[in-house]
Amino acid sequence: MMPSILALMPMLVIGFGALALMLAEVLTDAKTGLAVGTAVVLFTAAAFACAGWMVGPENLGDAAVFAPWLVFDRFTLFFEVLLALSGALAALVAGGYLREHGIDRGEFYAILSFSTLGAMMLAAAGDVLMLFVGLETMSIGAYALAGFRRGSPKSAEGALKYFLLGSFAAALMMFGFALLYGATGHTDLAGLHNALASESLRSPSIVIALALVLAGLAFKVSAVPFHMWTPDAYEGAPTPATAFMAASVKAGGFAVLLRVLLTVFGDERSASWATGWPPVVALLAVLTMTVANLVAGRQESIKRMLAYSSIAHAGYLLVGVVAAIRAPAQAQSAVLFYLATYSVSTIGAFAALVLCGSRGAEVVSYEDLAGLGRRHPAVALPFAFFILSLAGMPPMAGFFGKWFVFKAAMDAGLHGLTVIAFINSVIAAYYYLKVFVFLYMREPAAGAPIAKPMWSGEVVTAIALCAFFVLLLGLAPGAVLDAALAVGGAG
């Protein structure tokens, strides 16, 4: 009995922790402790997931008896750790940000925790039902977080676009799964895989289902041309919510994308270059990288630039997903490692951006950053640091993330795709370096609004943790890479 409880502990801790946070918000007036409380809950969940990893999912066998629709394998555990850490870091950023900007309402932390729980259910889903419930739990929370700044027209508008396109995508995906259920009689992912692999099932409804599911998933991971909501939602949302969406929601999206494409549609016909999804996903990857990088260079708003940068990163990740058809273990672990490096880099970048501004003097455009490196070197440095990691500069984490994904794509024989990804990461350097030009080489224009840095222990803690992970993954990627490889080997 003990080990099977251990399998569920990460989710139980977050679920009950979030309920406790809601109670604490109502029963006490102290709002300052909530961010730290959320971080403690999520770190505890991550610790339980680590413990589950050490015990080994093969020893958690009877977990399947009372949670038959969840899959407890190393893939799930890896995502549980990643999602819990991302959620905790975003909560810490929120602690400083919400207080500074006068929207310090406690429900933010409960919603963030529940949304993290949804993302974990999504990563662990072994059945379409659980997949849908996880997806909705994650997305509904994310819609609420995006619109959290109720008085701001931009926040409401971003949330509206996110909500409308997100629900549309969910509807597309569920119609696809309904068609699959009709064709096979299964709603469990393993059963769907077996039915699709074994039967000489060539009904056109399966192709339509694949297209609908793929479109729905592409919306969730914001792949071009399904990315229209991303820049608006990211710009309008309060910055900690943006960090959460960019890291956790994207990681949850990729977890389910990998699970669905490699498990359900992992049979020979669906996953072959001639007759299945790989050319479509490859096209999505090329479009995503190229369009996002070209448009990102034209942005004036820093948050929009980071939004397009997150879309471009989704493109690199999709390259890894395509590579998984030829070298499954290697490519899948490269994608997982990339997600880890990307999550800590992007949360760090948004945390540093929060620290650069204060109430009424937020950093919005590049101009606001002008001369910050000279005026406030201590807050400019972390921002520059995480931007370098996002750009993929060695020895930061981002470099090794890209390296392993590109290497997996090369080993899978996808030379054209790798070259395009490489050219794109060079183009991306343009808009990342633009940040440096403004930080260190420009003086603010006369009369322009000047961003004033804020101080917050929580945000500084989040930045320090992100920086630690970025350097750890960059200088000593061994441990996390081994973990990612263990996932690939097991799955």
């Binding site: 379409v128 509904i140 409401a156 909500f163 409308l164 509807a171 119609f175 009689g185 709603t187």
Partner: protein, 101 residues
Amino acid sequence: MIPVEHYIALSSILFTIGGIGFLARRNMILLLVSIEVMLNAVNLALVAFNRARPETHAGQMLSFFLIAAEAAELAIGLAIVLAVYRLKKTVRVDDANLLRH
């Protein structure tokens, strides 16, 4: 007994109507309605497919969860539409044009 193909045809038509409505309409409330039509087409398909395979209840169960999650989703959606309406006094999506690059 009505054959399952008829249900699926109806469900596909409903889904298409919802999809076209979502893409063509400009009123936020009607966009929400379009999404509901699409999701209910999914429910209809699930229940009809389940009737064709009465040995398990997987499809029906899924449709119950869909209905519950839809309700939660719509609650958030209406809240967001209300927030937009309070700030902009309009429910037309074309007027939601603050965020551009």
